[in-house]
Every structure is written in C-alpha cells, then in structure tokens.
Amino acid sequence: MHQNPPSPATPGGASRFGLPGLSRGRFLALLGAGALTGAGAVRVFGGGSSWRYNTVENPVPAFVPASYRLVIDGLVERPFTLTYDELRAIPAVRQVSDFHCVEGWGVDDVQWDGVRLQTIIERARPSRDAKFVTFHSMQGVYRDSLSLHQSGLPDVLIAYDMDGQPLEQDHGAPLRLVMPRMFGYKGAKWLTRIEFSDVQERGFWEERGWGVDAWITA
C-alpha cells in the first residue's frame, strides 16, 4: 500500500514564507503588490523628483545684481552685453520640462521662465564661421558647449526663474542654460558669457569622460 507521507512536522500548522494561513503563492502576490505600491508611491510622492546640487565652482558663485553682466561675443556680427534688468526686459517664455541628471536622478515638470536662446542668437547674428556656442560660468571654471543648431532648438532657454521663483544660488543664480533634451551637465549654471566659435569647446565634464552630445532617451 502506498500512503502519502505525513506532512513535515511544522509546529502549530506552520506555513512557509508567510503569515499563518497564507499560502506561499498568496504571500508572493502580497509581496508583489507591496513592491508595486512602493513603486507607485515613489512616483506619486515625488521620491524621484527632488533636486540635488552639483557644483565644481567652489565656493558657489555669488550673484550681485548691480554688477552682473551677460556677455555675448565671439564670432558674431553684433556682440553685446546685458545687465540683469535688460535681460528681464526681453520678452520671456515659460516652459515646463523634465530635468535629467547623468547620475540617474531626474526632476519631472520643472517650470522655467527665461529667454529663448534663439532670440539671443538672432540678435547677435553669428558670422558664417560660427558653428558652436560655448556657455561660461561666472568664475571661469565650468563651461560647456552646444552646436549652433542644437542651440537654436525651440526648447533651449536661458532661464532666470525656476518654478516661479528667481533661481536660487545653488541652482545657478541669476541665469542658467536649460537644454531639456540633454543631461543636466550641459546646462551651465551661473551663466555669464555666451561665446560663438568655429570649433567645439570641450566642457568641464567632457574633458573628464562624459559625451559632448548628451541626448537623453525616452
């Protein structure tokens, strides 16, 4: 006669991987549901949407409104300089776009106010040799560049307000480049000079290994 062996001695009707009375299947389903809930909570409560600061400008540059100048020069027919007030007097655009850092974190739906870079380009009138644009930070340590074509894309801004407030010092006050289609290191903060050139300058991080074209992928 063949009999089923008695079930292994598990005191008190124990079940495995679970609360009493829960089968392993149900327990795993619970665990899966928990993981999904956690992932959902992260999305909804914005665990993925918090800013971090990175700076190679140390100490972080200070913005003095009275002496601040934005210089536009290089291979252009009409180099010019803007004070902070003049910058704010140019017709502004508002844009909501996502920000992605090359480190992996991102911030969704950032609202930027500023000036389309294309507006600046048109005003400066690049000469025929101008193929690239270099963006310089206040203290001359950080810089990065885009091609002239990339610079003219409609969602490329120089922004002075973030989420309705003037940029904070850590976020690049008074002005930063916003290029939502590329990783954040392309967006120089504490922007003071926009220089047109015929060869592409390698940016601070690009000299340290990151790609010159930093397109993000959906």
Partner: protein, 224 residues
C-alpha cells in the same frame, strides 16, 4: 571558523550554525555594509566629489562591490543545493505559524507592560524570521535595482534615461528604509545583554546551552 567535525562542541556549548550558514551570513553582510557605506557617500558632498583620474572614487567602488555582491549572492543560492545544514536553517527561518504571531504580539505587549509568559520558540523566534524576510527582500530589491543602475553607470546605451530615473529612487528608498532594520539587528546582536549571546552562534558557531534552553526552548540542538 573551524571544521565542525574536527572538534566536538565545547562542554556547556551547543552547536548553532555550521560553516556554510556562517559563511553566507558574513560574506553577504560584509558586502552589504560596504555597499551601504559607499552608497551613502552620495549624500556627503566632500566624499562624493573625491575623484581619481576623473572617476568618482566611491561611486565606482560601489558599482564594483555591487556586481561582486550579485556574484556572491548567486553562489549563496547555489550553496543551498549543496549544503544540508544551510537548507535546514533557511527552512526553519522561512517557516512560521500561529506561535510566531503570538510571539510578536507578546513582544509588543511587553513594550507596554511587563510579565506574561513567552510563547514557545524553536531555533528562530518571529523577530529573527521577520529580520530575515525584510533583509532578503531589501537585498533582492537593492541588487535588482542596483544592477540596472550599475549597467547604466557604465553605459547609457542599455536603458532609457526615463526608466533609470524611475528605478533610482527605488534603490535609494530601499537602502534608507532598511537602515532602521539593520540598526535594530546590530543592537540586538551586539549590545542588548539578553540577546547578544546569539552573536557567538554566528561567529564561533556555538552558544551556551543554558542560554539556548531559555531563549529557544523548542529547539533541539543537533537535530536542526
């Protein structure tokens, strides 16, 4: 760790964990601690920005340790098939019943008022089982999300930026949420007088017989 068969357990001591269980515990925990520490450097700008030849020291150390831990965890899983004692420990750790619920309730009640008798405990009490479950879940989650981040750290060509931005906070929050569990585990293993005897079970492999009788009356050493 000595060979179990070479020496009988010291008089007054009982064998609690054989070499495979101890090896798995310590190899995983060393990597876990190192990963937690190197990961947390991300929140300390002075440490985060230490570069060696253009590469971020702790980020690369973290990624290298991370892939190494994945390999160690895989070996540990394979060892389950090879070691009877390891399998028995895993089995006892992942099996639970009404006594465990009663034990947890008893411990909660004890926080408020003293007294009451402790429900019977076999080789592992419900707290140890809960710790094992949370540790396993956190580790699986951290290794899973970590591998995605680690690959993305090496090449941006595999995963989409948007996907990585969703995975990253999961990795962060799993690591941060686990810290209290880890601190509780360390407190009970190293500091709390009535429980720290258990540490010897995981280092030398044996614990005092009288301690085992008091804390794990339902466990018969040698029959585990």
């Amino acid at each position: 760790m000595t060979d179990d068969r070479a020496r009988p357990p010291h008089r007054g001591l009982v064998r609690r964990f054989k070499v495979p269980t101890r090896l798995v515990h310590w190899s995983l925990s060393v990597f876990f601690i190192l990963l937690l520490l190197t990961g947390l450097t991300n929140f300390v700008p002075e440490l985060k920005t230490i570069h060696i030849g253009g590469a971020r020291l702790f980020a690369w150390a973290h990624v290298a340790l991370g892939f190494a831990m994945v390999a160690v965890a895989a070996v540990a899983l394979l060892a389950l098939n090879r070691s009877r004692s390891l399998r028995d420990d895993m089995d006892a750790l992942t099996r639970n019943g009404p006594d465990d619920t009663r034990w947890l309730r008893h411990q909660l009640a004890r926080l408020i008022r003293r007294g009451g008798s402790e429900p019977p405990v076999a080789k592992f009490n419900a707290g140890q089982k809960l710790n094992a479950l949370l540790s396993a879940a956190a580790t699986a989650g951290l290794l899973g999300t970590g591998v995605i981040l680690g690959i993305n750290y090496i090449t941006k060509r595999v995963f989409s930026t948007v996907f990585v931005a969703d995975v990253f906070p999961l990795h962060t929050w799993l690591a941060l949420a686990f810290i209290p569990v880890l601190l509780g585990h360390l407190y009970l293993a190293l500091i709390n007088p009535s429980t720290r005897e258990a540490l010897r079970g995981m280092t030398s492999g044996s614990v005092r017989r009288d301690w085992a009788r008091r804390h794990h009356p339902g466990w018969t050493p040698g029959e585990d």
